[in-house]
């Protein structure tokens, strides 16, 4: 009997053990190793040549202008992408909310960019944004607008990348919001109609609170995703011109051959920043989210 009781107590742990082993190996261990690496001037090829430097990598990060530049770029990028994508997908979703054949065609069209690989998208936009032969400047000239240097000027490069990311992301988030909108019970709207509520008030007092869990989810997912942006930068600008589009992950990537310890330390800092952001979101915003 005693044996059985011990087993009863152990069983849940044994059952989650395989999954935990996976998490340990593929999540915990790499994170631990990252932190370990961040304390070294690490020589990947010859461990004996590695030097323990303690917090040196971190003091160096915090004392370097280009790190703050990358952090600033990432913040602007994230803010731009999150705000623009949320607003636009919300607008489009509200517009597409009525079930009609035309709407489903539009929805499929908007969703298409999400299916295409981001690398292909970046390459296509790279051509569109070419200052001399690109389509965008050609159209601008036809309409009589001044042409832009797009990716080739440090003033416009970051906003150009934001445009591409927003264009790619809108469809997916529109889909999520449309699904959320359609799950709202019509009886609530009927009640509001009886009370003669204005359209704006209905949207503000009913629609938004009802879809707030989905919006909150999008906000967190997108903030984390945008903070880790890499592909578009790698393909379209390589972090340039003059570091105008160097984001944190690209900054980490830049040191991959020469200083893996410094890269690792920056990775730890990035992890801390994203952790902090997520924590703040949960503390501040989760109270405003309305779960049914």
């Amino acid at each position: 009997m005693d044996k059985k009781r011990i087993w009863e107590g152990l069983r849940p742990y044994v059952l989650i053990a395989p999954a935990m082993a996976g998490i340990m190996l593929f999540v915990m261990y790499p994170v631990g190793y990252l932190i370990y690496l961040s304390l070294f001037k690490y020589n990947l090829m010859n461990k004996d040549k590695s030097k323990f430097v303690g917090w040196d990598n971190f003091t160096q990060i915090l004392g370097r202008g280009d790190f703050y530049r990358a952090l600033w770029n990432t913040t602007i990028y994230t803010a731009g992408v999150v705000v623009l994508t949320m607003l636009l997908s919300l607008l489009i979703a509200v517009w597409l909310n009525k079930k009609s054949r035309f709407n489903s065609v539009v929805q499929a069209g908007i969703f298409t960019p999400h299916v295409v690989s981001i690398v292909s998208i970046s390459l296509v936009w790279l051509w569109l944004m070419e200052p001399n032969q690109g389509l965008l400047n050609y159209v601008f000239k036809l309409v009589g607008l001044p042409s832009s240097a797009w990716l080739q000027s440090s003033k416009t490069a970051l906003i150009s990348i934001i445009i591409v990311s927003v264009w790619q992301a809108i469809g997916y988030y529109t889909l999520i919001i449309v699904a959320a909108l359609q799950s709202i019970s019509p009886s609530i709207y009927e009640a509001a109609a009886l009370d003669n509520a204005s359209k704006f008030k209905v949207f503000y007092k009913i629609t938004l609170p009802m879809i707030s869990p989905q919006l909150f989810f999008i906000l967190i997912i997108m903030t984390i995703g945008s903070f880790k942006v890499f592909d578009t930068v790698q393909v379209m600008t390589g972090g340039g011109p003059n570091n105008a589009t160097t984001t944190l992950v690209y900054y980490i990537y830049g040191f991959r051959t020469t200083n893996i310890g410094y890269s690792a330390a920056t990775g730890v800092v990035l992890m801390a920043i994203i952790g902090l952001l997520t924590f703040i979101y949960f503390r501040l915003l989760s109270k405003k989210v309305h779960y049914q």
């Binding site: 044994v14 440090s154 600008t237 003059n242 040191f255």
Partner: protein
């Protein structure tokens, strides 16, 4: 009873997971798969496999594959397996990871500027004894190309696909305007400005261009009498003597009148090449590696010339060397491959003739085939002749890391017109910090 089965199942799952994860760690370079004959357990009959990583794609990759095939056909007991690993930088990244996990190749191509970094980590084999054993002397090689081959008195690499920057000229365009090929910075300024065609606010034709790279500024620093690092490698050698400021001020001056087109960083090599082919720019600083491609596509009189001099003629070298990794288990076979590739006529010479890289041994230069090719295509000879002025002053273990910073300085000045002395001062401080580590 049932619970027992559960526990057994979990334990099995757990162990299989652990086993799956630890399995990949120990790869033996020696017993590479493939090669047909290796399955036979008898040691005397099996072929030795030599893994060779390189960075040559496209046409040059085909020439390299042909070289490997020629080697395998002439060697019964050795099989070389060549693997294209992407660009020079990608190859370096992959090599670092492979060496860290003990799965590196036996022989690898290595971009010359990374040789010092690898040698410092003690992962490259000293080739001196092998060279002696085969009766080869260091003097057999083209001196201008040996700059990156030695490290702390060890010979850690030999030249393979080497190139150097050179001036490519649209002679037809220059002749139309009655201009001579420039040989000095002053002449370059005049000729480049004379080539400019401006309509409204748009430049229809530029004078000269160059890819986005550290190579060309470094060439110009040496031409202006500076060196990249100072003598004791504690700082830069073009700050206080003004060479850096002079070089960048010169480039900015050209850029301001359209005499210089400085391309965007991404894909800059292809951009400048196509501009040159289309006649949108009259002259171009570019690698000797593009001579072959350009001469087959241009429809004008195309010639090459020395890079214009300021105080002196000077040019860095580029391209990649071949190295043997210390972790190799088949060093004898690996050396035979390197020796054959470097010294035999049907090895390296054939490859050099096809690809247009620089001949790297004196024997190659003197060979009939080389001389015949030069007589037919003098453009290629110019590149070799320019090696007389080859000087590599950016040789240091920390160069790859400093290169990163130098690119930032180039971008700040060339794209954002930041103040030159201030930018160079920041760069100098960063360099000193890195060198002090």
């Amino acid at each position: 009873m049932k619970s027992k089965w559960y526990s057994l199942l979990s334990v099995i799952l757990l162990f299989s997971l652990l086993a799956a994860c630890s399995g990949g760690g120990s790869g033996e370079t020696g017993e590479a798969p493939g090669g047909g004959g290796t399955e036979a357990p008898s040691g005397d009959k099996g072929k030795t496999t030599v893994q060779f990583w390189h960075s040559l794609g496209g046409k040059n990759g085909e020439y390299m594959d042909a070289l490997i095939q020629r080697f395998n056909a002439s060697h019964e007991d050795i099989e070389v397996v060549g693997t294209f690993q992407g660009s020079y930088d990608e190859t370096v990244t992959k090599l670092q990871q492979a060496i860290a996990s003990g799965t590196g190749p036996d022989v690898s191509m290595l971009e010359r500027a990374y040789v010092q970094m690898f040698a410092d980590s003690e992962v490259l084999e000293d080739l001196t004894p092998y060279l002696e054993g085969s009766g080869i002397s260091v003097d057999d090689f083209t001196p201008g190309l040996m700059g990156h081959s030695t490290f702390n008195d060890q010979l850690v690499s030999l030249p393979l696909n080497r190139s150097t920057p050179i001036l490519h000229v649209n002679k037809t365009l220059l002749d139309e305007l009655g201009l001579q090929i420039p040989t000095t910075w002053e002449e370059m300024k005049e000729v480049a400005n004379a080539l400019v065609v401006k309509e409204g606010s748009e430049y229809k034709r530029y004078g000269v261009t160059m890819p986005y790279d550290t190579w060309y500024p470094i060439a110009m620093i040496s031409q202006a009498g500076g060196t990249f690092f100072n003598d004791d490698h504690s700082s830069i050698g073009f700050g206080d003597n003004g060479a850096g400021t002079k070089m960048f001020a010169y480039l900015k001056d050209l850029q301001s009148t359209g005499a210089l087109y400085y391309p965007p960083a991404q894909d800059s090599g292809n951009i400048v090449n196509s501009m040159f082919v289309e006649g949108k720019v009259g002259m171009m600083y570019q690698s000797t590696g593009s001579i072959g491609g350009l001469s087959s596509t241009v429809d004008f009189d195309y010639v090459t010339a020395f890079l214009p001099k300021d105080e002196v003629y000077a040019n860095p070298t580029g391209g990649a060397n071949v190295t043997m990794l210390s972790s190799s288990k088949n060093k004898e076979a690996a050396w035979e491959f390197i020796r054959w590739m470097e010294m035999e006529e049907e090895g390296g010479l054939e490859f050099i003739l096809q690809s247009g890289y620089l001949p790297f041994t004196k024997k190659m230069v003197e060979s009939e085939k080389m001389q015949a090719l030069w007589a037919k295509e003098p453009n290629r000879k110019v590149a070799y002749d320019q090696l007389e002025f080859a000087v590599d002053t950016n040789k240091d273990v920390a160069w790859p890391e400093i290169m990163h910073e130098f690119f930032s300085a180039i971008e700040a000045i060339m794209y954002d017109s930041k103040d030159i002395p201030a930018t160079l001062d920041t760069f100098k401080k960063e360099t000193e910090r890195i060198l002090a580590q």
